[in-house]
């Protein structure tokens, strides 16, 4: 097997739920050795959140945990014990990166904060991921995904064009804002790893989830801070359309893309009239044009519309649920999904990575059982005698 892209990178992860574990997963799936520290007997709280096979909760069968912790090792370690902290310092002394999501001040209380770890290992990169960052009045605030999502400005603008005065904008599905934070943190982390080659020194990265999400919405936020009352935007011609079997999206933004739509509709006379003569006219006459496009869309299936429009050069895409994404020909042809076998959860199908590297195929492994790698890390690598391991377990250290 060819080595992974990030082979040789040693990462400790003290992360829970979604954001920090996703950061670790991105590195692990590319071949970094990511060792996840979990609380003895309890583990990452994601283990207690579903989905579970047949809805039966089991700490080794959480779909959320299994997805976010592929390719990692798991060790258990209690940082509330002096022995646990000593072992943590030893691990941090050997690592390239520590990813952590403790509340600001928590690592300082444990005497494991960046200045102390950096004194032991000046090359260490520490990436701290918290809802609002290490400084500022909200640094202690806690969030669920709902609160985080709406704190970010990501609902400033949606393509629906509807003026929903009566109800608030809906949150993004799943945990997408948490993923935003983990992905952003992974970019900063790798940059710090590259940067230390020149400087010889690690870094402390402060990643605020709110800011990571704001950056994903930077265009709209930048614009709206200047245009507090932007002119009403009724939406472009096209957009989200209802087909026979669901919805599809078209974005005929440029002239040649509009012309592709006209050809796909069979060149109706109205589309060649002054009503549609240029982009400005189409926007001004949207109320007249859109119902005709909707009527055309209603007679097609999503896939008919998709292929017909794309063949004519107009960007379009069917709204697919996850089962349809799994079954799509394009995903199959690219090998985007892979089956991984796990001793407790069995064989499940996972999304792999959205980027294909010419020099290294994706080679993710199933997520670890809680403490699965205790012996490997503590005995083989730290050379702690086996009998001490039993004592540490009895004392609740591991």
């Amino acid at each position: 097997m060819s080595p992974g892209i990030l082979e040789g990178l040693s990462v400790l992860e003290l992360g829970r739920l979604v954001a920090a574990p996703y950061c670790g997963k991105l590195l692990a799936d590319l071949g970094a050795e990511v060792t996840k520290l979990e609380e003895p007997g309890v583990g990452d709280p994601a283990r207690r959140q579903g989905p579970f096979p047949d809805d039966l909760p089991h700490p080794e069968r959480s779909g959320l945990f299994l997805y976010l912790n592929t390719s990692k090792r798991s060790i258990t370690l209690s940082l509330e014990t002096e022995t646990g902290r000593r072992i943590f310092r030893e691990l941090a002394g050997r690592a390239d990166v520590l990813i952590e999501d403790c509340s600001p001040g928590e690592l300082e209380r444990l005497e494991l904060d960046y200045p102390r770890l950096s004194a032991l290992n000046p090359r260490l990169v520490v990436t701290s991921i918290t809802p609002f960052g290490q400084t500022g009045p909200y640094r202690e605030y806690q969030t669920h995904h709902l609160n985080l999502y709406h704190s970010s400005g990501q609902t400033s603008f949606t393509y629906s064009g509807d003026d929903e005065e009566e109800r608030p904008p809906p949150r993004g599905g799943g945990y997408i804002g948490e993923y935003d934070s983990g992905l952003t943190a992974a970019v900063g982390t790798l940059a710090a790893v590259l940067g230390r080659e020149a400087s010889g020194r690690g870094q402390h990265l402060d990643v605020s989830k709110q800011e990571a999400m704001m950056c994903m919405e930077r265009v709209d936020i930048g614009r709206l801070t200047h245009e507090v009352q932007p002119p009403p935007w009724r939406g472009q011609v096209g957009g989200m359309l209802k087909a026979k079997d669901g919805y599809f999206m078209i974005t005929p933004a440029q002239t040649h893309q509009w012309e592709g739509l006209v050809r796909a509709m069979g060149d109706p006379d109205w589309a060649r009239s002054d009503l549609c003569k240029d982009e400005t006219a189409r926007y001004a006459n949207r109320e007249k044009i859109q119902p005709r496009v909707m009527e055309w869309a209603a007679g097609l299936t999503r896939d008919e519309a998709y292929h017909r429009l794309q063949t004519e050069g107009t960007p379009a895409g069917p709204v697919r649920d996850v089962s349809e994404v799994l079954a799509s020909e394009q995903a199959q042809a690219r090998g985007f999904f892979a089956e991984l076998k796990h001793p407790e959860a069995g064989a499940q199908v996972y999304p792999t990575a959205p980027f294909l590297f010419s020099n290294a195929p994706w080679q993710g492994r199933a997520a670890p059982l809680l403490g699965q790698h205790n012996a490997e890390v503590y005995c083989d690598e730290l050379e702690i005698p086996g009998e001490d391991l039993a004592r540490m377990a009895a004392a609740g250290v591991i």
């Binding site: 992905l183 709110q210 994903m216 994404v325």
Partner: protein, 406 residues
């Protein structure tokens, strides 16, 4: 020269940037914020349409240097105009690529190859080049020539289907979808730079925008495999937690409140102190979830009498997770955002002072972030050709007159 400790992490890395629209430029924006020198290849014959229009606001007023969208997504970069229909222009790109570490592009798969500027062409002049191609659904597969924008990526990824209200259409999120794609591209490029440092090998990277978004709702695929269930659109609700919604305040603004644990519920109940919450209907988490509509009404009856900032402070102080629902027009003045300086002001030669969101990470010491305004169209032709490629002035003049630098 800057002090060694002040050099940003990608100092010395040069990127030949063929990207346009939103997704690709955000990827190279992140690389530039980390210190890379990003040279954007543009053409008057085929302008980056973010200089002209957007799906969210239609046609932009003013000229190509005045677009707030372009000027946001292209901070720090240099602009080189080249008419790639001319062989002399393509030769200049190859000379630039030979002095670059990375090339990034998001044209339709095949377009750059036909121009003689694909990965194999660039590798011929720079054997360890890292090239990332970002496309709608990837550069291989039966639909590889299909095009898309953010709303189609979200639609095809599975994410739009699970975003929105149960009685409304799927919502393809926002322009953020493109920026996620760009962030994933920056990640892949950095990983390839790490690999190059270790092995000396370059890389060709094929990124699917749609797959980026799918991978950010990954657990939904596991849920389908494990239970056969497809996550429904839930508005602001949750499949387990309640209350879990946005509630109107006295000012008309919204505050989000999400209650996950018994402790959080006890704290919220204590603050609201409404006897209507005492009954059987809200006794346990399951009951609260089943009765969340009347529960939401009681919570909102309480929030409606209160100021959003004070409400959030009180709820967070009591251990209840709550935040203001921010829109672009309120977020920059939020006291926390202001205290962290998360929104910066940049002076642009054509449009003057504009506010922009700063970098998404705070590095301990290096000079990461916004260094200069977005480039005017072709602003750096003379610098790139003269300083980087070492062309004499009269040659640059000739190329300008011949319409090569156009």
């Amino acid at each position: 020269m800057a002090a060694p400790g002040k050099r940003p992490p990608l100092d010395g890395i040069r990127v030949t940037d063929f990207t346009w629209a939103w997704a690709g430029p955000h990827g190279t924006l992140l690389l530039s914020m980390l210190g890379a020198e990003v040279i954007k290849i543009e053409s008057r014959a085929r302008l980056d349409h973010s200089r002209m229009r957007s799906l969210m606001s239609g046609t932009i007023q003013g000229g190509p240097d005045d677009s707030p969208l372009f000027n946001d997504l292209n901070l720090n970069k240099l602009s080189l105009t080249l008419d790639l229909r001319k062989e002399e222009a393509r030769a200049i790109v190859r000379r630039l690529a030979a002095q670059s570490d990375v090339a990034v592009q998001n044209m339709r798969p095949g377009v750059l190859d036909r121009l003689g500027l694909g990965y194999e062409d660039l590798r011929a002049v720079k054997p360890d080049i890292i090239m990332l191609s970002s496309s709608a659904v990837g550069a291989i597969g039966p639909e590889s020539t299909y095009a898309g924008y953010a709303p189609t990526f979200a639609s095809m990824s599975g994410a739009a289907h699970m975003t929105g209200y149960p009685d409304g259409p799927p919502i393809p999120l926002s322009g953020s979808v493109d920026l996620r794609v760009g962030t994933a591209a920056a990640f892949a490029v950095l990983a390839a730079l790490y690999h190059r440092k270790r092995t000396g090998e370059g890389q060709n990277i094929d990124l699917s925008s749609t797959e980026v978004i799918s991978s950010m709702v990954g657990e939904a695929f596991l849920e389908y495999g494990m239970t056969g269930r497809i996550q429904p659109r839930m508005g602001n609700r949750d499949s387990v937690m309640a209350p879990h919604n946005c509630y109107r305040c006295e000012t008309g603004e919204w505050v989000s409140i999400a209650v996950g644990s018994p402790e959080e519920w006890a704290a919220l109940k204590r603050l609201i102190a409404d006897p209507d919450l005492d009954g059987e209907a809200f006794a346990g988490p399951l009951e609260r979830w089943q009765n969340q509509k009347p529960l939401d009404e009681i919570v909102e009856r309480w929030t409606r009498q209160r100021n959003p900032a004070q409400l959030v402070e009180m709820l967070q102080g009591a251990g209840v997770r709550a935040m203001r629902v921010h829109s672009g027009d309120t977020i920059a003045s939020d006291p926390h955002v202001a205290a962290r300086g998360a929104v910066l002001t940049v002076d642009h030669p054509s449009v003057g002072e504009r506010r922009v969101v700063g970098p998404p990470w705070r590095f301990g010491e290096d000079g990461v972030g916004v260094r200069r305004a977005a480039p005017l169209l072709g602003e750096h032709n003379r610098y790139v050709l003269g300083e980087i490629l070492g062309m004499p002035d009269d040659e640059i003049d000739r190329l300008t007159e011949a319409g090569v630098l156009n």
